[in-house]
């Protein structure tokens, strides 16, 4: 758009311009600044901290779509065994709203977890028998058992945890990070999305492009979805019958023609376009190497398991996430579906856990082995928790659970998160938080802190407001989670 803006972008540090951007320019102008100073330049070796030195450079966010049942995985509630099929006391439920899937139930019988739990690591975290590999990493992981949300259905809940608002249209975490920190590799996008295919697909939820939209941030900060079948990036491959040499010849001619036109019209945007075409060409060259998982040594598959060889599996996807981060992609969002266990939890939970367990272990070990653990933050969790009472039929071996916004468990590891921390506590019913609640906005504030941002100052003008990821309500960085 404006060439002068671009030049300032080059001469200023990002920090100067973010600070200035807060008061100075409209979003779009700021956008052109942020976006444009990249392609023509060499990739920056290290992120330029926004407000202070960041703890983490990269994030791999593993979202468990549907909302895993916390009391079957991490939030151990032994007292519930005696409460089998007893009614959830009103004193616990406190008139909380229910989805219309269970609001018509005559009673709310308690379903204790059918799975065995044991303590792991020095921290002594209670972990389900279904996650033996993850359990080995207990002391690397920072456990949060007291996340809570306001949303009770999937669409608004995912939107809330990923954008800070239940209503669609705002930027997601990955877009904020891309916007704030920019790229570390001029040949690849800054924010990449991967959707894994679960082994069991009984009750999948919708996963749509809106989840990785850049909202009111410029479009280049939207997540680029790498696909697990077909071309990894849309239109990345030359048409059939067009080898690189042919493409190169046309691009060379194109550049010459555009240059001629520039000399006549003088629109600086023409030069930007030339460099974007060049970056497209470089991306075309780098993506095949990136996606060639076959080139990984045997030792990799020893870590992640053999599943990692199969395109589309969670293990394969997580391995791809590591390769992306290794090549300088800032933010990798991974989705794993089918955690929405309204019924047959007993039957479905083992396969869900099997999908992710070893891969999570592999990822953490792999990052450590490559010296990337301290600068890469791994996040794991869903959009809400599930109810202790059973939805539908209840037996000792099987039950279903409805959505539960009042508490759920998340974990993070690496990248400045304090391993071996067990934060927050819920009541005996895993229904209400009794200690150290973590609002989603607190969680966002903490994330931004690890990335070197003061969440209150990291704002963009939108519709007259200083919009920020952590929202308008007061939010705080949870210091106890930081290494």
């Amino acid at each position: 758009m404006d060439p002068l803006f671009k030049d300032w972008g080059r001469s200023e540090t990002r920090r100067q311009f973010l600070t200035r951007g807060k008061n100075a320019l409209g979003t779009a102008a700021l956008a052109s600044l942020l976006g444009r100073d990249l392609p023509g330049q060499e990739p920056k070796a290290a992120p330029q901290g926004a407000h202070f030195a960041p703890k983490t450079k990269n994030i791999i966010y593993l979202h468990m779509v549907g909302g895993p049942a916390q009391m079957d995985l991490f939030d151990y509630k032994p007292k519930m065994q005696e409460m089998y099929d007893k009614d959830l006391p009103d004193s616990v439920r406190q008139g909380q709203r229910l989805t219309t899937m269970t609001s018509g139930q005559a009673r709310f019988p308690i379903a204790p977890s059918k799975f065995k739990f044991a303590r792991h690591g020095k921290c002594g975290m209670w972990i389900t028998e279904l996650l033996p590999w993850t359990a080995r990493c207990a002391d690397d992981i920072c456990w949060i058992r007291s996340m809570h949300t306001d949303a009770i259905n999937h669409e608004p809940a995912i939107c809330y945890i990923q954008t800070g608002s239940q209503v669609t249209g705002r930027p997601c975490i990955g877009s904020w990070v891309s916007y704030g920190l920019g790229s570390m590799n001029a040949n690849l996008p800054t924010f990449v999305v991967l959707v894994a295919t679960p082994s069991n697909r009984e009750q999948e939820q919708a996963i749509s492009g809106r989840l990785w939209s850049s909202g009111f941030l410029p479009g280049e900060h939207a997540g680029v979805s790498f696909r697990t079948s077909g071309d990894p990036i849309l239109f990345i491959n030359n048409p059939p019958g067009v080898p690189d040499a042919v493409r190169r010849a046309t691009l060379d001619g194109l550049k010459e023609l555009n240059d001629l036109n520039y000399r006549q019209v003088g629109d600086p945007e023409t030069h930007t376009r030339i460099s974007q075409y060049e970056m497209a060409f470089r991306m075309q060259a780098s993506v095949p190497e990136l996606t060639n998982i076959k080139a990984e040594p045997e030792s990799t598959f020893k870590l992640y398991g053999e599943e990692a060889r199969k395109p589309g599996t969670f293990a394969n996807t997580v391995l791809m996430a590591r390769r992306l981060v290794e090549r300088g992609v800032r933010f990798v969002q991974v989705y794993h579906n089918n955690w929405d266990h309204h019924g047959n939890l007993g039957g479905r939970m083992p396969s869900q856990c099997k999908d992710v367990d070893r891969a999570c272990y592999g990822l953490l070990q792999d990052l450590k082995g490559r010296g990337m653990f301290d600068s890469t933050l791994v996040l794991w969790g869903g959009e809400f928790g599930r109810t202790i009472y059973s939805q539908g039929g209840l037996s000792k071996d099987n039950y279903g659970r409805d959505h539960h916004p009042r508490c759920f468990t998340w974990w993070m590891a690496g990248g400045g998160a304090k391993g071996g921390t067990i934060y927050g506590e819920t009541d005996d019913f895993s229904y209400n938080i009794v200690k150290d609640p973590v609002r989603i906005s607190d969680f966002h504030a903490t994330l931004l802190h690890l990335l070197g941002f003061n969440h209150e100052k990291f704002t963009v003008k939108y519709q007259g407001l200083d919009a920020r990821l952590s929202g308008v309500e007061p939010a705080k960085v949870i210091r106890d989670l930081l290494a």
């Binding site: 669409e155 491959n237 048409p239 059939p240 194109l254 001629l260 003088g266 629109d267 376009r273 075409y277």
Partner: protein, 1082 residues
């Protein structure tokens, strides 16, 4: 003076917003001297809005110290210790001393607000007070009026009013306008702006060679008259309307509303005045005697996203829908971001939460439900029959009505006869009615307990011997007399009765009273052999439904039908009868319960072979299974034909009718008389003919409905006033005060006499007193042409929006537009200005002083929108379909785009590409799935259409380059353009001027250039392209396989008469040319 002030305004604007950084895109001038008038709107309010309004603004929830700075009295009213501002005396004004204070307890804004005033800002405040502190309401809330025309130094350049304002600003900035662009450039620019397509080369040449004085105007008019004009304008409006082809949430299923899209196209083509355009979309259904089109127009507010997710709460969904409609209306017409007021009074603009929900009330008085049902036609909808069906569709109701009337008349006459008959009828008179049916083939009355095991029965007119064995019980409470009770231990073997064939008609049934404890599935009567694949037939009970089987071998050679609607009533007598027409199809079965025909599930429909079986007919069981544990039976009948409905009704009413006749006339109740009459009259031929006609009309109606289109429309709930509850913090479950529908209180009031409905809301928006609508629309039309509006924040004309670059121009155009609401007239005015006709070529000076072209120091040049880029490629290759309107289409798209996001249950999970013409329709007809919009368009910044969008983003990314380089749609278009160039280009035709190069190659290249760029290439350009072409040709000659692969891209076949290597080389030339910056830009 005016010019000077204008310049100063920009300087101060950038002092305020631009802080300290040097020259921006705006003109540089040395700081204004002390006596330059400071203006509140331009200079002061932005400082206050940014720094003070959060605590001292319109929102009482966050207001501190009871101080409001968004209103005049906040500055000048006595606050006990005097006023905040003393006019003319900065040093006596607390406002300034608080701002200047070094004391952290004193200073404003306080440190915790994390806002700091710049030195220049403080200085401006001082100067404002020193100059007497003149206050103004926010500019956009004042009604726009025509501004006096500013003086200019070079009036010769001025063609119309637009230019006066633009030139004054340019001269003040020390800039001169760019020269007029050449005619070819203008021909292309005008064509792209008015119809969204490149001009035909012939039209360009005609324009270039048109020496008449009104050549330009006539060229413009021709473009306006093209049907493509409406398509192009509609595309912008459809972004604002958030138009799409799916519901948007959860399943994201198909929604049929394209007739609304077509209405928008036609409205622009008909140049419907904007006030009418507005009224019909917001309230067409509330107009007196609305036309079909006026109702279709209300689809505007049915374009919002809706859900059918299980578990969502109705009230919450409805609150969300209304909220979307207020926000959209506010963005699109008011240019205000009302959404802040969902939770609290707006912190900057004078919109209260009460205002928000008062406007929501207009939209809550709707018949629309909370869930969309995952169907394509979620009520309220309008059915749009095919043109050939329209006449019949309109006449069916009258025909139906007429037949119903004659039925009623006939019934009246019959009733008179019936009543007469009833007066004298003997108790056994009904037997005569029954006799009309004729004798059954088999009859087992079961109404008298016999002395021995022998039961009375008749078969083919003769008594036969039948025995009841095992435990035999008779109960007193039969439908008539005593009834036989089956308790599982009773055997009644009826032998070779009911030997049905698959191709003969029959009927059977009985009275049955199932025991209250009867459970599971059982046979009421059956002639069925369990050991031979269940061959035979039966009357079956399963759960709460009756069913019937006709089986050769279960389940792949059998018919099974079952009732729906929980028809089994245990503990009461029910008459159950099955009829069959001998068609060997499940459709040939009917089941009547108490004389009423039940809706059936066709559970199996595979009968091929005979159901004949040697097994005997048994009561209450099959040969080996299906034992009925508890049930009483009476009046078992079998007929060797299909009984008509009226006949079955006679059987069912028999006990009732007999009872009626047995009573003395005075004890007969109207209801029972009516029931018996209904049955007695059912066999009447005239009534039957009437009923048949009604059924035919209904079938006809359904057929027309099934092939018709539907479109979503608005419909008011009748008998209630539009109201809404204020929702505390926007939460649906925290309703507070109830409010009536009302418009924003800080703007002009509802016009006198306007109803408090959506119609009144529309009338308010287009009233002559409204300050915003005309400004907002003029600005958006300007934005369509110039890339950026006069107000850059097209969605926000509020206090936090950006100030207009040319306020007087905006107001003058708005006042003009408001006078006639004529869109073409407005566009013509802008398009015929010298401002618009400028060349886009820029200079170093202009880049420095006017980098973003906000002063319009040159013509518009910017990357086209997604749909235009695609349309241009298709038009240049002459593959673009001219078809206007109709259902949305699914052109080329990479595999897996929908599949990756869609839920399994969704009917838009799998993208099935269309073929033929549908691949080449204009971009605005592409099927818009909200969860995965057309992939190539989304990459080029097309919005998701989840919410209203009045200003698209325009980025420049590598992913976009990949689209236009590699998308098969573009490759195919390149190949077709190459084919056309190779076949049609002749040196003499391609260029009427003497051919300089004169070669085939140059002529072909010229052909391509004129279609993509509307101009011939220069010598230098030609040399570059031909050099590249030489390399390409060498490659494809050496690699014929590559040539074959490349030219095979797309559904259309490559022209076999052309040399594949040559065609491949030209294809890549076209591909290269289609990616020129000049082609991608307007």
């Amino acid at each position: 003076m005016r010019r000077f002030a204008t310049t100063a305004s920009l300087c101060s604007f950038y002092i305020v917003f631009g802080t300290v950084f040097p020259a921006t895109s705006e003109p540089t001038q040395s700081p204004a001297p002390q006596d330059v008038p400071v203006r509140f709107n331009r200079d002061i309010r932005p400082i206050l809005a940014e720094n003070c309004f959060p605590c001292h603004g319109p929102d009482p929830g966050s207001r501190q110290g009871k101080l409001r700075l968004d209103r005049e009295e906040g500055f000048f009213a006595d606050r006990g210790e005097g006023a905040l501002v003393v006019r003319g005396k900065p040093d006596s004004s607390p406002l300034l001393s608080r701002v200047m204070s070094k004391d952290s307890e004193e200073v404003m804004p306080p440190p915790k607000a994390k806002k700091t005033l710049k030195l220049q800002q403080k200085e401006l405040l001082r100067r404002w007070i020193a100059q007497g502190a003149p206050w103004e309401p926010h500019w956009s809330f004042l009604k726009p009026e025509r501004a006096p025309l500013p003086a200019v130094k070079n009036p010769k350049w001025v063609l119309n009013v637009v230019d006066r304002f633009v030139l004054a600003r340019l001269e003040a900035a020390g800039l001169t306008p760019a020269p007029e662009a050449d005619r070819r450039t203008l021909a292309r620019r005008l064509s792209l702006d008015l119809v969204g397509l490149p001009p035909e080369p012939e039209a360009v040449e005609a324009f270039v060679n048109d020496a008449s004085s009104d050549a330009y105007e006539r060229y413009v008019r021709r473009l306006f008259d093209s049907p493509r004009y409406g398509e192009h304008r509609a595309r912008y409006w459809l972004d604002a309307a958030r138009y799409a082809d799916t519901h948007g949430l959860h399943f994201d299923n198909y929604r049929e509303i394209w007739p609304y899209r077509d209405w928008v196209i036609q409205a622009f083509n008909r140049n419907v005045p904007f006030d009418v355009f507005t009224t019909e979309q917001l309230a067409g259904d509330l107009l007196p005697n609305p036309t079909k089109d006026q109702i279709i127009a209300t689809g505007f507010h049915r374009c919002n996203i809706t859900t059918n997710e299980g578990g969502t709460i109705a009230e919450e969904n409805l609150a969300n829908y209304a909220r979307d409609r207020v926000e959209t209306t506010s963005w699109v017409w008011l240019g205000l971001t009302a959404n802040c007021a969902v939770c609290h009074d707006h912190k900057f603009d004078p919109i209260t939460t009460k205002d928000f929900y008062s406007m929501a009330a207009f939209f809550r008085n709707t018949t629309q439900g909370a869930l969309d049902g995952n169907v394509k036609d979620s009520a309220p909808v309008m059915v749009l029959p095919k043109p050939e069906d329209e006449k019949r569709w309109a006449s069916i109701p009258a025909d139906t009505d007429q037949v119903q009337k004659s039925i009623a008349a006939r019934k009246g006459a019959l009733r008179a006869d019936f009543d007469k008959w009833l007066e004298t009828a003997q108790p056994d008179a009904w037997e005569a009615e029954l006799a009309k049916i004729g004798p059954p083939t088999f009859h087992l009355p079961l109404d008298t307990e016999p002395p021995g095991p022998e039961l009375a029965a008749t078969h083919q007119g003769k008594p036969i011997a039948v025995k009841a064995e095992g435990t035999v019980k008779w109960i007193d409470s039969g439908r008539a007399g005593k009834a036989l009770l089956l308790e599982g231990q009773t055997t009644v073997d009826l032998g070779d009765v009911g030997a049905f064939e698959k191709d003969t008609a029959f009927s059977f049934g009985c009275w049955v009273r199932l025991n209250a404890n009867q459970q599971g599935a059982a046979s009421v009567l059956a002639r069925m052999d369990d050991d031979a694949g269940y061959r035979g037939w039966d009357l079956w009970v399963q759960g709460n439904e009756f069913a019937a089987h006709l089986v050769h071998k279960w389940q792949d050679d059998a018919i099974k039908v079952s009732t729906t609607g929980s028809l089994v009533k245990r503990g009461t007598w029910q008459h159950v009868f099955v009829t069959y027409d001998g068609s060997a199809k499940a459709e040939g079965f009917r089941i009547f319960v108490d004389g009423k025909q039940a809706k059936l599930n066709l559970e199996a429909n595979t009968l091929k072979n005979t159901p004949r079986t040697p097994a005997p007919l048994l009561l209450g069981r099959r040969k080996k299974s299906g034992v009925l544990a508890g049930g009483a039976l009476q009046d078992l009948r079998i007929y060797a034909r299909r009984l008509a409905a009226a006949e079955v009704q006679r059987l069912a009413i028999h006990p009732k009718a007999a009872a009626l006749l047995a009573k003395p006339p005075k004890d007969r109740q109207p209801k029972e008389k009516q029931d018996v009459f209904d049955v007695a009259s059912a066999g009447d031929a005239e009534l039957a003919a009437g009923a048949e006609k009604l059924a035919a009309f209904e079938a006809e109606r359904k057929a027309i409905r099934d092939r018709a289109s539907v479109t979503h429309v608005m419909e008011e709930r009748k008998g209630s006033m539009p109201t809404a509850n204020i929702l505390f913090r926007g939460e649906y479950d925290k309703p507070r005060d109830k409010v009536e529908a009302a418009v924003f209180t800080s703007l002009n009031p509802l016009p006198t006499g306007a109803p408090k409905s959506r119609l009144g809301l529309a009338q308010w928006l287009v009233s002559k007193d409204h300050p915003l609508t005309a400004r907002v629309m003029v600005n958006r039309f300007w934005q369509e042409l110039f890339g950026t509006g006069i107000v850059k924040t097209a969605e926000d004309f509020g206090i936090m929006g950006e100030a207009p670059s040319h306020p007087e121009l905006l107001d003058t155009l708005a006042a003009e537009f408001r006078d006639h609401w004529d869109v073409r007239k407005l566009l013509t005015l802008i398009l015929t200005s010298a401002t618009y006709r400028q060349s886009a070529a820029t200079t170093k000076e202009k880049l420095e002083k006017d980098g973003a072209n906000r002063l319009f120091s040159r013509g518009p040049r910017f990357r086209m929108d997604a749909e235009m880029i695609r349309d241009v490629a298709l038009a240049a290759s002459a593959t673009l379909s001219p078809k206007l309107g109709g259902p949305s289409v699914k052109p080329y798209q990479p595999e897996g785009v929908w599949e990756a996001v869609g839920m399994n249950e969704s009917n838009t999970k799998i993208y099935k590409r269309d073929s033929g013409e549908a691949l080449y329709r204009r971009g605005l007809y592409s099927f818009w799935k909200r969860m995965a919009p057309p992939a190539s368009m989304e990459i080029l910044n097309a919005p998701s259409r989840e919410m209203a969008c009045v200003r698209r983003e325009r980025t420049n990314t590598p992913l976009q380059a990949l689209v236009t380089l590699n998308d098969p749609q573009f490759i195919e278009a390149a190949r077709v353009l190459a084919q056309n160039a190779m076949k049609k280009a002749l040196p003499s035709v391609a260029d009427p001027r003497p051919a300089k190069e004169g070669t085939d190659e140059a002529a072909r290249l010229d052909f391509i250039a004129r279609r993509l760029l509307s101009r011939p290439l220069s010598k230098d350009e030609t040399a570059i392209v031909l050099r590249v072409r030489g390399k390409l040709l060498a490659h494809y000659k050496a690699a014929p396989e590559d040539a074959k692969k490349l030219t095979a891209v797309g559904e259309s076949k490559p022209d076999a008469s052309l040399d594949p290597a040559d065609l491949a080389a030209w294809t890549m030339v076209c591909n290269q040319m289609m990616n020129l910056d000049e082609v991608l830009n307007k």
